[in-house]
């Protein structure tokens, strides 16, 4: 009864309760296969957290922290060092010789020039779900926490349980003083600094927020057709934004069906949930990746796109300019980390286990 009254009210007021639609991929997100055409620098399972530092490129693969350097012809990456950590690495930030590494279950470890690594303990900050970090200066670190309730590796569970407990923190690394800038975010998955603005990707609300001083967050990008993740500033101005999985109507529908979702979360392995994925096709038990299969000119609702590769070039206000994509049938899915080095963007596709280089000047 209440639902019927609510529906009637929604109709009267003009807002929509019935739709489980997603915004179209058009304009700057017009479908293309440019990401598939980019040169693959390395194949590495579970590659994540690509970060450019003064002495090479850091990245993680599961529990390992890896350091790479570029070959002389810049066509390949070569492994310089491998350092096992106590848990999965969830985020890395570097500035000059300062380095911050977030490890699931351990928290943030800080390293400086010639100093041993030390843990950074912050009260109220979930050490298992640090999704992104950025240094403003060698002693100021901004941290995005995806969720207070779940670990970073449980991101699907966070989406399906709608915890809305993400936050952004400003930490003085010297004194250990921490300030929570904003809370109640639906999975803060990425962070980028630009002058006075701090851009935060709020994945489950499909938007990018701009935090400026003490004022209310401003929406910089909204109604995205995919889940925004990590961001990195570009040397030529503006930003790069990685969207790690596409939205699809079936997931939107499941997110509205509370009872169904509860039972799915309770009874099914997360890998087989009706939920976005970094990559598909690993098991026949997964939902079918049809890339919007058509039959008799009808899009089949049971075969939407579950995973894709999507890297977006944005301007300095975070407005989208163009995109590099790997479609449902492509091979560079689940891009979760980005860094710029040598005038090129290096993108890590965690889903497909590939590191590709994007030369925006020539590709655009």
């Amino acid at each position: 009864m209440i639902a019927a009254i609510w529906k009637a009210w929604a109709n009267f007021r003009g807002f929509d309760l019935t739709g489980s639609t997603v915004p179209p991929m058009d304009g700057p997100l017009r479908p293309n296969a440019k990401l598939d055409a980019m040169p693959v620098l390395m194949e590495l399972d579970d590659v994540d957290n690509l970060t450019a530092a003064h002495d090479g490129i850091f990245c993680s693969s599961g529990n390992d922290l890896l350091t790479f350097s570029m070959t002389s012809d810049a066509s390949q990456l070569q492994l310089s060092a491998r350092c096992p950590m106590d848990g999965p690495v969830t985020s890395i930030a570097a500035l000059g010789e300062s380095l911050a590494i977030a490890v699931e279950g351990r928290g943030i470890l800080l390293e400086g020039a010639g100093t041993a690594s030390r843990p950074l303990t912050i009260e109220g900050l979930n050490p298992s779900c640090v999704t992104a970090m950025a240094f403003a200066d060698p002693t100021t670190l901004f941290v995005a926490v995806g969720s207070d309730r779940h670990a970073a590796s449980e991101w699907k569970r966070d989406l399906m349980t709608k915890s809305a407990s993400g936050s952004v923190w400003r930490i003085e690394t010297g004194s250990g003083r921490a300030e929570r800038l904003v809370g109640g975010l639906e999975f803060a998955a990425g962070l980028a600094l630009s002058g006075k603005d701090i851009f935060v990707a709020e994945a489950w609300r499909h938007r990018v927020l701009a935090l400026t001083g003490g004022s209310q967050p401003r929406i910089a990008l909204a109604a995205l057709p995919a889940y925004p993740g990590r961001m990195t500033p570009s040397a030529s101005g503006g930003f790069w934004l990685a969207m790690f999985a596409p939205r699809n109507p079936l997931v939107e529908f499941v997110l509205k069906e509370d009872e169904y979702r509860r039972r799915m979360v309770d009874t099914i392995e997360p890998a087989y949930w009706i939920a976005p994925a970094l990559v598909t096709g690993k098991s026949f038990l997964e939902p079918i990746q049809g890339g919007a299969r058509k039959k008799l000119n009808m899009l089949k609702p049971w075969s939407p796109t579950w995973s894709t590769g999507l890297v977006v070039r944005c301007d300095d206000r975070m407005a989208m300019l163009r995109s590099y994509q790997s479609r449902a049938d492509g091979g560079v899915h689940g891009v979760t980390s980005l860094c710029e080095t040598g005038g090129r963007l290096i993108a890590g596709a965690r889903g497909s286990g590939k590191i590709v280089a994007i030369d925006d000047e020539t590709a655009a």
Partner: protein
Amino acid sequence: MNSLVQLRGVSKDFRGVLAISDVNLDVRPGEIHAILGENGAGKSTLMKVLAGVYQPSSGEMVLDGKPTVFNSPSDALAHGVAMVFQETNLVPSMSVAQNIYLGDEKLFNRLRGLNIQAQRYLLSLNFYVDPTSQVSTLGAGKKQMVEIARAVHHHARLIIFDEPTATLTPEEKFHFFNLARRLKEQGIAIIFISHALEEALYLSDRITVMRDAKVVVTDDTRNFDRDRIVQAMVGRSLSNELYAGDRRKARPMGNKILSVENLSMGNTVRNTSFSVFAGQVTGMFGLVGAGRTETMKIVAGVLKRDYFHGGTVRFEDRPVRYRTPRPAVRDGIVYVTEDRKIEGFFETMTIASNVQLGALATGTNPLTMVTPRNARELATAWTKRLGVKAIDADARVIELSGGNQQKVVLSKALIQKPKLVVLDEPTRGVDVGTIVEIHNFINELADSGMAVVVISSYLPEILALSDRILVARQGRVVEEMDIAEATESRIMYAAVH
């Protein structure tokens, strides 16, 4: 083969504007003849001349070897030429049987006898339609069957179909094709106008392509392929003179202002999705029946989408469902109609009153007094800005030319200070000089940061104005192009395939 009907040098002008020019066409008994062309190519006018709706300004029509003039559609029908219009000519409140025998009634009619007679007749044509059904309750396909039955009943030897398959479901289309073949076997000639090239290639014996009011080519269907048809449809010279110019650079995209997601409305708008960005002109091209107008009317609250599974419209990232245009206008969406005479203005009212009516829709307190002087000043400012050629703002709109009427409609819309303006066929029925003025004005709007959507059936106009082009087909946006990559052939290919 002997011709059933021949048109020799037929022209038809409307107040000096040639709708068809020096057309020669022959139709043979028992053939299916497809007439193809862009919107405005003159196909419908040509067919209306054949069916007696219009009388030719010059040239002659020869029927069975004798020069003939049809004074009315009933005169044409008496000579065996019937036309089935896209909007059927049936009486919706009457039964199927009554519609079939309309005009043939006897002095005393027994309804039961009429129904039995109609039933037999419909079955003889393999039409499974209940003769007692009220026509208003029938679907598009069945209505068309009734219309055809009526034409055959009047012993039509030539039946002209205007876009017969536009409103049909795939199954109904299949039935229509079978029916057309059966009529052909009976020696009845069929002309059909269609935008679906594959249908023309599949069904017809001969194809005639029209462009810019003239017949470009008539040939056997086996000598055509899609590319040849598209080439014949778009390869114009006249338009190139009007719209020639260097290919300009597209304006950069602003924020996404409108997002249409899986929008549906009956059979006309089918699960369409697209976005519109501020600071750009987004051109929307499609053939008749592509659902462009209906889609944008839903966005602007002029039409309502399906309540269930009707999709989502987001304006400035906020889901909206307008039930009337007024809240849309208040939010900043304005739709400028393609049919200005019916929906665009009150023709007997003054320019000032019409412009003032536009201002009223913005949510002005109805109790606010607007003096005639204020209204006149407002209208004068806008007429000056748009260059409306009238004695003053007190001139009645009916006294203005088509181009100036269109400028008044634009003033009425733009006084509402929209963020998104949808211009549906903005230069239809407008003279060449005014077209340039309207185009310049549209460019100014986009340069000022407004999101502009231009719906046009005229490819050169789309190419001249748009920064980004959306192509609609069968109720859905099927292709998106940047202006840098768009060509007439590419757009047309997307619109018909």
